[in-house]
Amino acid sequence: MDAFERLTLEEIAEAVPDGALLGVPADYSGVPMAATRALIARGARDLRLYCLPYTTLQGDMLIGAGCVASVEAAAVTLGEHGLAPRFTAGVESGALEMRDSTCPALHAQLQATEKGVPFMPQRGIIGSDIAAHRPDWQVIDSPFGNAPDPVLLVPAVKLDVTLFHAPYADRDGNVFIGRRRELATLVHAASKVLVTVEKIVDESLYATEASAACALPAFYVDGIAVAEDGAWPCGLTDLYPPDAEAIRAYAAAAKTQAGFKAYLAEFGLAPRPTPASQTA
């Protein structure tokens, strides 16, 4: 018996059910692009993306490929490469449901699940149109202190699946996440945790106190697949930078659905024929 469940990329894609509320990491946190292409290949549908706190290429490709029903995020963007074209088209056409949030609320809603509590208080946000369009959030008067003190409460969010890419796992199934502790938040709040890694290493992450601080413990992880360059064309911490040329090429191609389709075809992939992927 392996110390952990070894999967293939295809098995990872199978383990993300249609309709799942999927935890999505930001571009600094190990974007699982190889697994994302596997999700598109298997024709995943109706995914609900919960981004901590934003998404770039991963979200835009899933949207363009017709895998996505809704997005909750503080932003969707290609960063220095401009607007996320399939996201933008999806919102502007009305085909894609966008649940606008803000970074600290996205963290807080997962933290509530992390702590097993039904809600978390959060400062700020009151008076914004973000709050105005979130009937699932509530404002109460803090029961502490004497003066009126309205506080926003955001409910706990439990993710069905969290999926991310990491530099490596050890033979016991512990995963290196380093200072990307927001990945731990995504993990703590998820029912199922799937990870792709560049490689499996022999030395335990618990061999030294210093490396132990970089670990996501194996007991959280349901399955691991090896995927070299698994974040490409996004970057992976200090291992490889984003492939600016490849992202630029994507940004240019995906300006239209036809261009996006041609981009996918280079990977032997095709978008699902859904309304969200039909928008020009």
Partner: protein
């Protein structure tokens, strides 16, 4: 000594940071980044500059949440925000144009502005484009409000707005901007014409001071090469530094 428009913006922002202990700079912000590094180099006491999208200059060791927690703790003195639209009450819009959620033009989203605008004592609004398109009477979507009712917890908020044409201060009581200075080539009248909202004017609206020669030298010698690390294209364009 001649200066570029960007250099004027850098030194103007740097002047707004004096006395700060900790300035944080977000992504895609070469001018605020240069201003923070310049201010740090001129600070008589310890000043921390956190450059959030740099692996080595981002001090946060506990993931992305730590920035927002640190801001909520009051540990970040100044932060920069922009906006697709900024209105006369300093409301900012990072989400889109049109009648939300039926937007005719979608932008990326609000990021952390809806907390940072409340938690950071001094938020400097920075938007190079100064037009009726960006500076509007009323934003289409409030990503973060410029002011809040007195019972709502709010440590800070907008203190100034810097554009490619002018410097405004912001009066939270009146919920109005006040024109403080115009950059060379503009007048209060040309600024008013290019602005979609009404604003107050300082008793004397002067010209935004040009950078002193010594300071400009230091900026080019000490700061520009460091900006080239984070923003090679910007440094190449403004200072001709090889990427």
């Amino acid at each position: 000594m001649n200066h570029t428009p960007e250099e004027l913006l850098i030194v103007t922002l740097a002047d707004m940071l004096h006395g700060d202990r900790h300035v944080a700079v977000g992504a895609a912000s070469p001018i605020p980044c240069a201003a923070a590094l310049l201010a740090k180099s001129e600070s008589p006491r310890r000043m921390h500059v956190s450059i959030l999208h740099s692996l080595s200059h981002n001090p946060f060791a506990e993931g992305a949440r730590e920035l927002f927690d640190a801001a909520a703790q009051g540990r970040i003195d100044t932060f920069f925000l922009g906006g697709v639209q900024i209105d006369g009450s300093a409301n900012i819009n990072l989400v889109g144009l049109g009648d939300y959620p039926n937007l005719r033009k979608r932008f990326p989203g609000s990021f952390g502005s809806a907390l940072m605008y409340f938690a950071v004592p001094r938020v400097i609004l920075f938007r190079e484009e100064h037009s009726k398109r960006t500076l509007v009477e009323r934003v289409d979507f409030i990503s973060a409000p410029g002011t809040s009712p007195p019972e709502v917890w709010r440590r800070g908020g907008p203190k100034a707005l810097l554009t490619g044409r002018a410097v405004f201060s912001f009066d939270a009581e009146r919920a109005r901007f006040r024109l403080e200075s115009v950059h060379g080539g503009d007048t209060p009248e040309t600024v008013a014409e290019a602005t979609g909202f009404a604003f107050d004017q300082a008793a004397e609206v002067g010209e935004t001071p040009a950078p002193a020669a010594e300071r400009l030298k230091r900026l080019r010698r000490d700061i520009a090469p460091r900006i080239a690390e984070f923003y090679p294209q910007f440094a190449a364009r403004v200072w001709g530094l090889a990427a």
